[in-house]
């Protein structure tokens, strides 16, 4: 079942609920969603008079993450905090520190037992969450996937996915760097933990793009290991033993940093070797600024926190009328041209706790 089908599947339940046209309009007006739409329908409403704003509701949302301490999610947590402050809600950040799926499933079950008003979960396993999400759904708790999703066609009952389509983002990123590498060149693709459910699909996307558009390009996949120092050493070892390599491409934050480090140390950009990857390690941004890394992919972690809260809040407030919708957050590439906007102390990238003025 694809995402559209899944959303269509939810539609009868919404239509079937005993909500009349008038009460639908009333709810929509309360939500402030429909100033323009209502104006069209009623003909007289003015935007500035249409709503007194959304009410604050003390909903409690649970966020179940696969790597709760990972710095990537700092802006996600800020996004959650900001959305909760806007809507009067509260949240609990829970899950597993080290990608242990059983701990995450337990966290979802705990949230159901505590009568959560909504659960957002990183669906890092294609099957393991199906039963728990179905139980939440049966209990009337909306479940939104964030950061990682089940594959297309999964029977999982999550209502929407907010995040980067991982495989597609790898594919798209590769389409961006393939033309930068000389035709028939050889490249290194790195992965910190092979099989990891958030980086492996990106790697698969890289490989598929090489097969589709590489025109004779060859590649090696290097397991760079779980910590930055090991990752730097292994990328450096690879470069020293494969000096004709035309590109170093990471699939996660720290291995992309490692590719940048090696590119910088040996001045590879000047010799035409391309380095690129994912996420916004401050060091990676520095290497983009210095020209050692061509680009990195920003998956807008802030939105991965803000949007699930917003969607679950609206779902609860509207009694299910406003269904959560898929949101692709990975439309941004950071290059030398726009890197300055990312380098500053900004809450939206997690480098400052301060709210923007």
């Amino acid at each position: 079942m694809d995402d559209d089908t899944r959303n269509q599947r939810n539609a009868p339940a919404l239509i079937g609920s005993a909500v009349g046209r008038r009460s639908m309009f009333r709810t929509a007006a309360t939500l402030g969603l429909g100033a323009a739409g209502l104006a069209g329908g009623m003909g007289t409403a003015l935007a500035e008079d249409a709503s007194s704003g959304l009410p604050k509701k003390p909903y409690k949302f649970f966020f179940v993450c696969h790597v709760t301490l990972d710095q990537f999610f700092t802006p996600t947590i800020y996004g959650i905090q900001d959305a909760c402050a806007a809507f009067g809600c509260s949240y609990q950040w829970t899950g597993s520190q080290k990608n242990v799926v059983s701990e995450m499933v337990s966290a979802v079950q705990t949230a159901i037992a505590q009568k959560a008003d909504g659960i957002a979960v990183c669906l890092v396993d294609p099957k393991a969450f199906d039963a728990a999400v179905a139980a939440a759904s049966a209990a009337g708790i909306p479940v939104v996937a964030f950061n990682a999703d089940v594959p297309t066609g999964s029977p999982n009952k999550r209502l929407s996915y907010v995040g980067q389509p991982l495989y597609q983002s790898g594919y798209n990123s590769a389409l961006k760097w393939i033309p930068m590498v000389p035709k028939g060149g050889h490249v290194m693709l790195s992965i910190g933990v092979p099989g990891s459910l958030n980086t492996q699909p990106r790697l698969d996307g890289y490989i598929q793009a090489i097969k589709d558009h590489g025109e004779g390009m060859t590649y090696d996949v290097v397991n760079t290991g779980p910590d930055p120092a090991t990752e730097i050493s292994r990328v450096e070892s690879y470069y020293l033993s494969h000096k004709t390599v035309g590109g170093l491409f990471g699939t996660g934050g720290s291995d992309t940093y490692a590719c940048g480090f090696v590119s910088n140390k040996y001045g590879l950009a000047k010799t035409g070797v391309v380095a690129a990857g994912f996420d916004l390690f401050p060091q990676t941004l520095g290497y983009i600024k210095s020209g050692d890394v061509a680009f990195t992919t920003d998956q807008q972690a802030y939105l991965q926190g803000f949007l699930p809260v917003q969607q679950m809040y609206l779902y609860k407030l509207s009694g299910g009328l406003v269904g959560p919708a898929n949101s692709d957050t990975s439309q941004a590439y950071v290059t030398k041209d726009n890197v300055d906007a990312y380098v500053g102390e900004t809450r939206f990238e997690g480098r400052s706790t301060a709210e923007p003025a």
Partner: protein, 358 residues
């Protein structure tokens, strides 16, 4: 040594030590005297394999600067584990200290302008304090150190990700601090046989210094003797007046200081403090290095030099496998199998060694 014969006629039994005649016998005598020789044999076998497998690329100065950099990092943690394992304890929280110490040093610098050198001293003191806490909880409350340090590992990880919003920090560079403690100033394409070229090996040289000092302390001081006695026979050690609890706490403190120092060198080298810098994987590799280096998990015996060679073996595997083309999906299979194979080879050579003892 001269063989000693009794004067009991033709069937006289020889006692004492046989004088080595052949090269093989001399090698075996060497083995019997120095535990480290067995892991050194493993290291040599591995170096030969990688040297041939990489068409001569493994033993280049450039590549060895990477292997020895990793050897230095792992070796400092491994030697810390050796001290504890000799006393019959273990510390799984060292990777947490490895992350926390440089993070504190860098935060002190960027927040209050504290010079890195001063911050480093404070950070090592924090590492020692963490060790003291580990030690005191272990000996006072009789909690097995495996559990104590699992607890402090999580605690330290939690602290390091929460004090600065989980962000990796680009560390300031202050000379001569960085140059002394790990910054690589050599020209990657140039010769290492120069003043700046030596900086490619700074982390390893520091580790060599620390390992040498700890080996001396273990083998030449009463503290070392008490440490070994505590691990080999704790009841006996107490009965002869050794304050075994205190010895254990001191060793935890030294271990914490070593881990903090390793973290500081790592940060000086990469000008980066990362909250995930020391993954538990680092501690596990260090324990593997210590054990394949000849340190007993049961306590009472261990060798810092052997642990350093063990760290070299693990670092060689880590990087050599990439060099000879191990693909990502199978490289951990080779790494795991090679560590076990190294252990088996080491144990067999060790058995040969102990058989030679008279």
């Amino acid at each position: 040594m001269v063989p000693i014969n009794d004067s009991g006629g033709a069937k006289a039994r020889k006692v004492g030590v046989k004088v080595p005649d052949t090269i093989l016998e001399r090698a075996l005598v060497l083995l019997s005297r120095y535990r480290e020789v067995s892991i050194a044999v493993v290291a040599v076998v591995l170096v030969i394999y990688f040297q041939f497998g990489s068409d001569g690329g493994f033993l280049t100065a450039q590549f060895q600067s990477i292997v020895l950099r990793d050897t230095g990092r792992l070796g400092l943690i491994a030697v810390a584990e050796v001290l504890l394992m000799i006393t019959g304890e273990i510390d799984l929280s060292l990777s947490g200290t490895f992350s926390l110490a440089p993070y504190i040093m860098v935060l002190l610098s960027i927040t209050w302008g504290v010079p890195l050198a001063v911050g480093a001293v404070i950070s090592v003191a924090v590492g020692v304090l963490v060790g003291a806490i580990n030690g005191l909880i272990t000996v006072r409350f009789r909690v097995p150190s495996l559990i104590t340090t699992v607890g402090t590992l999580f605690f330290l990880q939690g602290i390091v990700v929460s004090i600065y919003n989980s962000q990796p920090i680009i560390a300031p560079v202050e000379e001569p601090f960085n140059a002394i403690f790990g910054e690589n100033l050599s020209d990657p394409a140039g010769s290492v046989f120069s003043l700046l070229g030596i900086t490619a090996f700074t982390p390893f040289l520091w580790t060599l210094l620390v390992v040498g000092a700890i080996a001396l302390v273990l083998n030449r001081t009463s503290f070392g003797l008490h440490t070994i006695a505590t691990g080999s026979n704790i009841v006996g050690a107490r009965e002869i007046g050794i304050r075994t609890d205190r010895i254990k706490v001191y060793n935890f403190m030294i271990a914490g200081g070593c881990a903090a120092f390793a973290g500081i060198i790592n940060t000086a080298q990469f000008a980066s403090a990362d909250p995930q810098g020391g993954s538990p994987f680092l501690t596990l590799q260090a324990i593997a290095a210590a054990v394949i280096g000849g340190t007993s998990l049961l306590g009472g015996s261990g060798t810092p030099i052997g642990a350093l060679i063990g760290a070299f073996v693990v670092a060689s595997l880590n990087n050599g496998l990439v060099m000879v083309g191990a693909q990502a999906t199978v490289s951990d299979v080779y790494l795991g199998a090679a560590i076990v194979a190294a252990m088996i080879l080491n144990v067999q050579v060790d058995r040969l060694r102990t058989r030679r003892r008279v």
